[in-house]
Each structure stands twice: as structure tokens, then as C-alpha cells.
Assembly symmetry: C2
């Protein structure tokens, strides 16, 4: 598996916040119930998102989380990286700020690291996919949730 559930849950969380019409904060427990995810685990994930500046929190009663910027401006590479850490295909693969790729094996040999070409391509493929997707797209793709007068609609009533 390329990514763990941290990315999965975290993205779902972000989408849930993106669904919200206004900028009213959503409580974690609401997200947990809507997505059927463990609340205490979401706490860890949302902490990462907050530290990355992707969501803002309001404490106290009726508090919660909301997106730090409009969903159209949030690309998924930033989100996934906040949750999973630096995205690289391989341990030895380090990207400098200028975009150059370093490989830790290149120093120890006479010939260039033959896998570098491969991992560079993979890296590019993943990065393009993530950076080319915005949170707004996912929110829209997720389906048009009812918007007509449903500020405090009951949720748990299945069937």
C-alpha cells in the first residue's frame, strides 16, 4: 500500500470540512460520526493538518474546525504530505528545495544509481496526480449533499 489510512481518513476529514457551506466550524465528533471513523484517532490527524496550516480551530463549546482557505486553493499534495510526511518513492530519495534529486547511493559507487531514473518517474507521477487535484474537486465528486434547509438535520437515523 502506498499510503496508510492516515491519508485516507485525513482527506475524508478535509472533504467533510469542505462540504460545509459557510465558514462555521465543524466539530470532530460530527465528522467522526458522518464518516464512521474513531474520534480519538481523528484528533491526531487533525493536529497534523492544523500544524500544516490547512485547518483552523475554534475551541470551547460550539467550536470545531474549518478550512484555513477556500477548497479550490487546497491541493492534495499538501494535504497528503501533512498527514504522511515527505512523499518519496524510496528512502534514499531526497528532493532539494530547488527540485534537484539526491540519491544516497550515488556516492558509494563508480556508476550512477540505476534506479534513480525509475524513482524520479514514479515521484513525478504521484506528485502530478496529487498536486493536480484540489479539495474542491473531491467535494464535488463526493456528491451533492442536500443543501436545502439542513442546518441541524438529524444524521443518525439510518433506514
Amino acid at each position: 500500500m502506498l499510503f496508510s489510512t492516515k491519508a485516507e481518513y485525513g482527506v475524508r476529514l478535509m472533504v467533510e470540512l469542505g462540504r460545509q457551506p459557510g465558514s462555521a466550524p465543524v466539530s470532530l465528533s460530527a465528522v467522526a460520526e458522518a464518516e464512521r471513523l474513531p474520534l480519538s484517532y481523528l484528533e491526531h490527524l487533525v493536529a497534523k493538518l492544523r500544524k500544516a496550516g490547512l485547518v483552523v480551530s475554534t475551541r470551547g463549546a460550539h467550536g470545531g474546525y474549518s478550512l484555513a482557505m477556500p477548497a479550490e486553493e487546497i491541493t492534495l499534495d499538501v494535504v497528503v504530505e501533512a498527514l504522511e510526511g515527505q512523499i518519496a518513492p524510496m528512502e534514499c530519495f531526497h528532493e532539494t528545495p530547488e527540485g534537484k534529486v539526491l540519491c544516497s547511493h550515488e556516492s558509494d559507487g563508480h556508476h550512477a544509481c540505476s534506479t534513480k531514473l525509475l524513482w524520479t518517474r514514479v515521484q513525478s507521477g504521484v506528485t502530478k496526480a496529487l498536486a493536480g487535484t484540489t479539495l474542491a474537486e473531491l467535494v464535488e465528486f463526493g456528491g451533492a449533499k442536500e443543501e436545502a434547509g439542513a442546518k441541524a438535520a438529524p444524521v443518525g437515523t439510518a433506514a
Copy 2:
């Protein structure tokens, strides 16, 4: 990290076999020494490659491994999958033989899984990068190893 060292070492191993001009088998210890990798660990990896039909082995003295087919016909998606197992961006992401994508979360909700779009794109990016790269490319990229009369050239003499 998207992939573990299993993919890294395994690909390096394949490249090393691909370097060999003829179809003469290369012993694992030779590969281990050339790439500075632990022999006993390589044994595990080469077993996976053999079971996947990517390399063939000849036992006994002067035995070793060689590619089961020309390097031009070996694409890296097969190699990496043999080493790492099924490549999917997420646990819930299953691809059927016909190419359809199933998501285990889609049954439990009213709306479609909003992350599916994202993981589908990531999957496509990785698959294209891996399937679009042949072992022959990596061998060539790795650099032209000396070919002129170097059947038993000493290796360890650095500096």
C-alpha cells in the same frame, strides 16, 4: 516512503543481471558484492522474482541467476509488484482484472467515496511510470560498464 528497500534492492538486482552480456548466470554473492547488499537478504528477494517468473536459476557450483527474458521486455511494474505485492494507493482500493476499481467504503454510505477520484489518479500515475519503464532503460541509464576483457576483474580495489 512509497516503497521499501525490497523494491530498491530487487530492482538493483535485476539491473545487475541485465548488465550481463550473455545469458551466463550470475551468482547472488557477486551481486551482493557489486551492490554492497546483504547476501542473505537478497536470497529472499530473488525468491520472489523467481516465483514471478522474472529470473531463472541454475543450481550447483557456477550456478546463479539470469533474466528469464530480454531486458527490453521486462517492465518495472511487474518487477516492483513481484517484490512489494499488489500496488495500490490505499487499503480500500481494489482493482478487478477488468480494470474496474472497487472501494470498500462505497457500500457503507449514501454518497460515493470522495477519495476515489484521488486514489484513482495516483494509481494511474504510478502505474504509468512503472509500466512505461523497461529494465533495459535502467541498465543503460546505469552507465556503460566496461566490457573490454573484464571477465574476472577485481572489484574491491577502491581509490
